[in-house]
Structures are given as structure tokens and as C-alpha cells.
Amino acid sequence: MIIEAELRSTKRWELTAEGEEIAREGSHEARVFRSIPPEGLAQSELMRLPSGKVGFSKAMSNKWIRVDKSAADGPRVFRVVDSVEDEVQRRLQLVQGGQAEKLGEKERSELRKRKLLTEVTLKTYWVSKGSAFSTSISKQETELSPEMISSGSWRDRPFKPYNFLAHGVLPDSGHLHPLLKVRTQFRQIFLEMGFTEMPTDNFIESSFWNFDALFQPQQHPARDQHDTFFLRDPAEALQLPMDYVHRVKRTHSQGGYGSQGYKYNWKLEEARKNLLRTHTTSASARALYRLAQKKPFTPAKYFSIDRVFRNETLDATHLAEFHQIEGVVADHGLTLGHLMGVLREFFTKLGITQLRFKPAYNPYTEPSMEVFSYHQGLRKWVEVGNSGIFRPEMLLPMGLPENVSVIAWGLSLERPTMIKYGINNIRELVGHKVNLQMVYDSPLCRLDAEPGPPRTQGTA
């Protein structure tokens, strides 16, 4: 800094040009009063005087003069009092003499309203030598240049300071979609836990794999036109593993494997109906069926994250398609305690530690448990996932050994993402109505590291 300047401002009162005239000559009303002789003056004549108009009305309201309208040659003005005190002039003279402070606030503001006084702010700078005081003049450099580096001139050049409060220029970059960033993290968690990814690249599924293989009866409401998208073309699956299909049919209609079955007339044509898979559990069923064909049985841990489809009523939190996250463990002697243990590890990696489990009903798991976590924002327990042990009626017809249990759990990808990124309307996140600015601005997804943005309603 070459010099330092300190601002010092003072305020004072000054007379206006009119104010100065009044201090010198007296107020308009006093001048009017003085110009009236004892015999009075014609009003028309008085009005022609320089102070006439303003002075007349002020002198009238001060009750110094009166008007006689009955005079022979028009209205005449007479004095009422013998002498007057010109307060206005006296006050203005006080200000002129530098004694404005002797006037009250009210008196000053009255004079100011009459435009006789003004308040003047006087700004002065107190200038002193700065830390880099110099008597020679040199221009400040804005940026370092290659020439300065090579010549070394940067050593004795002054540089203009940066404004560190300004924003930087954002890099010109591409961005990943927030939902898929969360998907990446969920994949990572499963991989860290030793789970192998199942193929799920088949949106079209037969009712057989989507429902029948899962021991979901053919009259189940989920198989209704209102809930599931069925296909017109190709309407039916071309091939089904018929040996296995017969075991499934028998288990539904007559029971077996220790089950009473549902005791109804199971129809192959119903199983052949193609649909858009309603859950990725259909892919899990295919994976478990493949596992069952490998002898001897080897324990497996599987996961998948992919799209599923429901012919549902759409609202702010439901779309006709969403992503399902699913984890499956097949091993000898798995217990409900194992399911809970795996869930605890899984949710801990998501940053969710307070869990409790509620008995529930799913057509293809028994026992079933809903997973609840305590939501700090909502101050209540909210459901975060669904889980269970696959029914023997599903596993045994596949050919899995009797002492093998399969535990599984599932949740949606959208809900944790909406909570994570503070999004209330799912359409802003998924689909073409996405807000690209939101995509550009979304931070990294670190599920266990940071609290989400302020959580709003609609997360229950």
C-alpha cells in the first residue's frame, strides 16, 4: 500500500441563499409588516412587494396584520400590533454565527422545511504514508507472465491484489447423474461385502419367473392388470424349463416339500404371460435356479440393482419404473439372526445404525421382516427395507438342498437418493423432466460420511 487514507466526516448546518437574505434583511413577514404605514396599504399594492405573497400569509397567521375588505378602493391591509419580534431572522443569524446547536431540533427542522437551512456533510480524508510508500509512480501488474518469470522482473513489480471473495470459474465438465452415483455406492457396498452381481439385463420376464417360481399364487392381487404391465407382443414366453415348471405347478396346486400348497387350479397359460418384471426378485429366482443346478451346492452371495416396473398410480414419490436393490445369501443353516446381522452390516455402511425389525408378510419369504430405522429429522421409525428367508416352496422345487436357507432383502434406490439429495418430487430426479442444474450441482455421494442436506417432509 502506497498511502493509507482514513475517512473522517463531519456534519454542520448552513443557510441557503434565501436563508442568508433573511438573516440580512429580515423574514418576509417582518418585511411585509414594516412596509405597512399606520393608515394601511392597499392589498393589491402589498402583493406587488418582493416579500408580498409569502410574507402576507405568514404575517396573517402570526396575527400581525388584518385585512379590511369593505374599504372604498378595494381591500386594505392594516397593522394589528405596534411592533414585532423577528424570530426567524434571529434564529438564522444564530446559525450564521456558528451557534446552530443553540436551536432545538424542532426549530431547525422547521427552518429546513422552509428551505432556509441545509445540513451539510463534510467528508475529509486523513492521508498518511502506506506500508509500500514510494515517491516514484509505477503501474500494478494484474498477472504473472512468462516474460516476467524469464526476466525475473516479477521481483520488483507490484501486483494488484486478488479479491478472494469473488467466485471462481466453474470447470467446463460433464456430470454423473445423482441417482446413478448412489447406485455406484450401493454396488460398492455389496462388493465390499463379498456379494456377486447378478445379471438383470432382461426387463421382459415371464409370469413364471416373476411370480410362479416365487410361490406367488396366480390369484395374487399383484398379478392383476391394475398392478403389472403385461405384454401384448410378445404376449407369451416361448420356453419354460418344463421339469421345474411341473414341480412348481404341483407345489402351488397340491403342496409338497412339507407344504399344504394353495390348493387351486394352477394354469400354465397364466405362467406363460409375459410382463415387465415387477421386481428384480425374478432375476434372483433365475440365479438361484442356476445355482441349484450346480452340484455340489456352493454357498453364494448375490446382489442386483436395476429397474422394475409397476402399473401404479403416479405421484410425487411413485413412478411406473424405479430401481430395486436386492441382496441374497444362500448357505447351509442360515438363520433369522444371520439375516439381521447382514442387514446391520449393510445399513451401517449406509450410515444407518439404529435399526429394528418388524414381523411382516411377503408371499415368498417366511419369516419376513420389515427393517425400520430411526429418522432423526422426522423423529420416528421409518421403513427402510423389506427382508426375509425365502420359502421352502420356492427353493426346493428349484433343486436346492433341504438344509440350505436363502436370506434376502430389498429396498428402492430412489428413496435413499431423494433423502440424500433433499429432493421431494421424484420427477425432478428420474426421467426426462430432470432438472439438469440439479445434476450439475449435486455433490459426491458418500453414504456413510456426511449428513444429508436439510431433510424435508415426504421422506416417510
Binding site: H175, F203, I204, E205, V329, L334, L336, G341, I389, V430
Partner: protein, 589 residues
Amino acid sequence: MPTVSVKRDLLFRALGRTYTDEEFDELCFEFGLELDEITSEKEIISKEQGNEKAEGASDVVLYKIDVPANRYDLLCLEGLVRGLQVFKERIKAPVYKRVTPNGEIQKLIITEETARIRPYAVAAVLRNIKFTKDRYDSFIELQEKLHQNICRKRALVAIGTHDLDTLSGPFTYTAKRPSDIKFKPLNKTKEYTACELMNIYKTDNHLKHYLHIIENKPLFPVIYDSNGVVLSMPPIINGNHSKITVNTRNVFIECTGTDFTKAKIVLDVIVTMFSEYCENPFMVEAAEVVFPNGKSYIFPELAYRKEIVRADLINKKVGIRETPENIAKLLTRMHLKSEVIGDGNQIEIEIPPTRADVIHACDIVEDAAIAYGYNNIQMALPKTYTIANQFPLNKLTELLRYDMAAAGFTEALTFALCSQEDIADKLGLDISATKAVHISNPKTAEFQVARTTLLPGLLKTIAANRKMPLPLKLFEISDIVVKDSSRDVGARNYRHLCAVYYNKNPGFEIIHGLLDRIMQLLNVPPGEKKGGYVIKASEGAAFFPGRCAEILARGQSIGKLGVLHPDVITKFELTMPCSSLEINIEPFL
């Protein structure tokens, strides 16, 4: 999940104690129920129709309780109370008995005409029952809940309940031409033919949902008494003549349907729930049903089944170590009366007629776990060591996504379902040329087909973001679906990569450069030799003439790139030039 609405004070009186809302919520959670809402009739009406309409409505506190879909025995206050009281060991589970009347047994004769429309019927009598207003309401409400759930909106089973004292047996269940059926239906003052009724009920908000079950059938099911009085025309409406009231003492119950097993379950649930109010509680008077083949059956079945499960199996499945005696106690609390038998490790479990959901030992295991308390189970981790693998296609996708973003393109996430127009008309194609799979029951045009290309989704994303600064550079790597008769379901997915550049200039060189970059990332050299890639002038309906090229890599066509046709741009409600690239990435696995 069905929701049962019960009056809180009535519930607490029946439970013999009061709870705070939190305590009751906790009890529900433990038992596998969910206290969904605390409300009142007044609150419900005011919410749905405004405060004015709610004026004068009851403000008695209601608990709305979510019940698991397979627990038909918990669908009314009576069942909930019984379930919770047994769970808390305050009462023992009642024993339900079928009794033959001293006098003549009520008979329902099924004629063969019913065979093609609704072949099954079961029946029973609740003798000397004492209703009150609340009990009566609960009785009607239970039928409604059963109709909506296990009865599949009356398609599988329909229930009719009648004042037996107004009727005279034997009853006939038959099927007749609609024009030949004439009776005074419930809550109407004059007689109508079945044809007239079907018309009248078309505008009935409640009944119109059931008409389709029989609408187009030549014969309608109908039940008569010996004097020709119509009891009901299932599954639509009962007759007014035999209408039950609070004062009805003897109730004749018939269930007709297309699923015999479910009809029997429904009958069992109704009589087990409401025989509580009979002079001889839990005693149900039998009725005889004669089938067209002359065989006769006695209902309700009220069958108790015995299962034997080893205690160590239950311990092993749940992950606990309880003595057989304790496990028997746990199961008894779940309405499954159990005792230790044989070698001291076997448990004999009696499954009552109310628990039709118990069809396998695993159902018994679950009940033991619930009674033990899920949250009391010791957690453990599976001991087996497993090696994780990624699905190769997803692994490649993940890697490419990152480098697409590094190349300056932003990721979109668009719907897999769309309209025919999106994938055909708007791209200048005929739908038959797309090999698209078609949905048979879309609610709107947005769900007519599965996409065969990612391009429409990206163009729609741009259209929704026209306020954003240019250029817009978007990509998506996701699946498309086409028919393929070599696959078991007749269709398959392909993993596509699509990118678009939208600006004041078409920017073909930018999209072309992106292709070069993608090929570089995939280690595919330029040129036709050594499995390289080239682009060759081509045509495509979606592209501007002379501005389209086919991409050939490793000896096969993998997609196209080019400048979009102005018609395409306009049809997607865009105004700027646009170039695009779409390839199948599966050849690079």
C-alpha cells in the same frame, strides 16, 4: 395390506385395559401389525369433504391398523382382540366346534347350471346370536374386508348373510337367465329383474366394480329358499327379504365362488369370529351342501390340523436356543396350541381353522420368532467366505460412465417405457420397423412400448431443460428392449450408449470426436483392419440427408451417428441443430 378401523375405546374395553397411543403402537409393532393412523369419523370426513360436511359426525377415536395380507383372522375387532389377548397370555385360544342341530339341518342344494359360472358353495348357521350396533357393524365390515382381500373383490368368493327366521329351507343354489331372475334387492322397495339391476348398479359406486364378474354370462347365479324367495344373486347383491338387522337372532351364511378352498376359508373365518356372540360361544351350527353329483358335505369345516416340528429345527432357523417347552409356549401365544411330545424334542402344533395362512413348517418358525421377539434375536454373520464378482456388462458400463463425464458429457436417466410415437413417428419410422415390445394394458400413452433407442429420452431431457445455457451435451448408458425369438421370453435387452450435442451449430465434429474417444477408451484402433472401427456414409430416417454415418467396429455394425433431421428436432419441440451418436456396447465385452 388391509387396514382395519376399530374404535379405540371399544378395543381397550375388549382388551380389558387401556394403552397410551405409544404403548399400543409398540404392541402392534411387536405382533407384526402397524398402527397406521389415529383418527375419527369426523376427521376423515373433514379431510375428504371439508369441515362443513363433518359437522355432527362422530368424534369417537378410531385406530386404523394395518394387518398382514395373509391374516384373515385379524380383519375385525373380535379377531384382533383374540389375537392380542392370546399373545399376551391373558386368555386361552378358544376351541371352535361345529355342532349338528337337534332339529333339521339346513340344506343348500347346488344345481348343475352353476357349474360353468360359479360352481362352489358352502354354508353355516350362527344360532342364537346377540348383535349390538357395534357387533353388527363389525360383522358387515368383516365381510367387506374379506371381499376386498381373500375373495379378490368377490371374483373368487362372495358372502351372503341372511336372517334365517325369514326363510325356509332347503335352499337351492342355481343359475338362471337374467331375465328370469326377479326379486327385491337389498335396500330397494320394489322388484327388479337381474337385467334391470345390472343397469341400475352401473352407476352404483360400490357395486359397479363387481358387475363384470357375471355381466356377459348367459346364466346368473342365484339362491332361492323353498318358497322361491331370493336370498342372493352372488356375487352382486342379496335379497331384501332376508336382510339381517341388529335384532336378527339366527344367521344363515352362504359363500359361493370359483375357488373352493378359499370359500371354505372365508366361511371358517366368519363363523370363528362371530360365534363368540352366540348363546353357546364358539359353537357353529352345521349346514349341509349337496353338490350336483349328489355328494353331500357338511360345513363349516373348522378343521384342526396337527403338525409335528422338531424344536431344534425352529432354533436353527431362527438362530435361538430355547427349550422345546419354551418354544411350545411361544407358539401357543401365537394361537398355535403346542405341546412337547415323543422324544422331548418334538413339538406337536395344532393349527386352528382361523390360521389358514399356516401351510408349512416355515410359517410355524416365523410365529415362534415373532413370539420370541425379532429384536431379541442375537445377530450373527454368515461364516462362509465368498469372492465377489461384478456383472461384466455393468462393470464396463460403470467404467464408461466416468469417462463420458470426463469427456464433458452429462449423464441423463430416462424412462425405459415410452409412447409408440417417441420411438417411431417422431424419428420418422414406422412402428412395425422397430421390433418394439408392446404393453397390453398401459394406463396412458407414456407406457405403450419399451424403448428401442435411448435417443428420444435424451431429446426429451433437452426439451425439458431449454432454459439451460448452451451447448447441452448429454449421454446415457442403459438398456433398450427388442423382440428376439431366440430368447425364452421372446425379447431381450441391449446395453446402449447414446450421446447428443445440442447447440447453435450441429457440432458433428464434436460427436464424431466423442466416438473417437470412446473407441480409444475401448482400445479399438481406427481403420478397418485388426478389429478397428470406421464410419461409413449411411442413411437414417432420423438424420439429415448426407449427415449420417454407420459405425462399424470389429467387423459389425454397432450403431449410427449424424446430424438430426430438422423434422425430428421439431417433433421433440427443439429449435437448435443437434447431432447424436448411439451404439450397442455389448460387442466390447
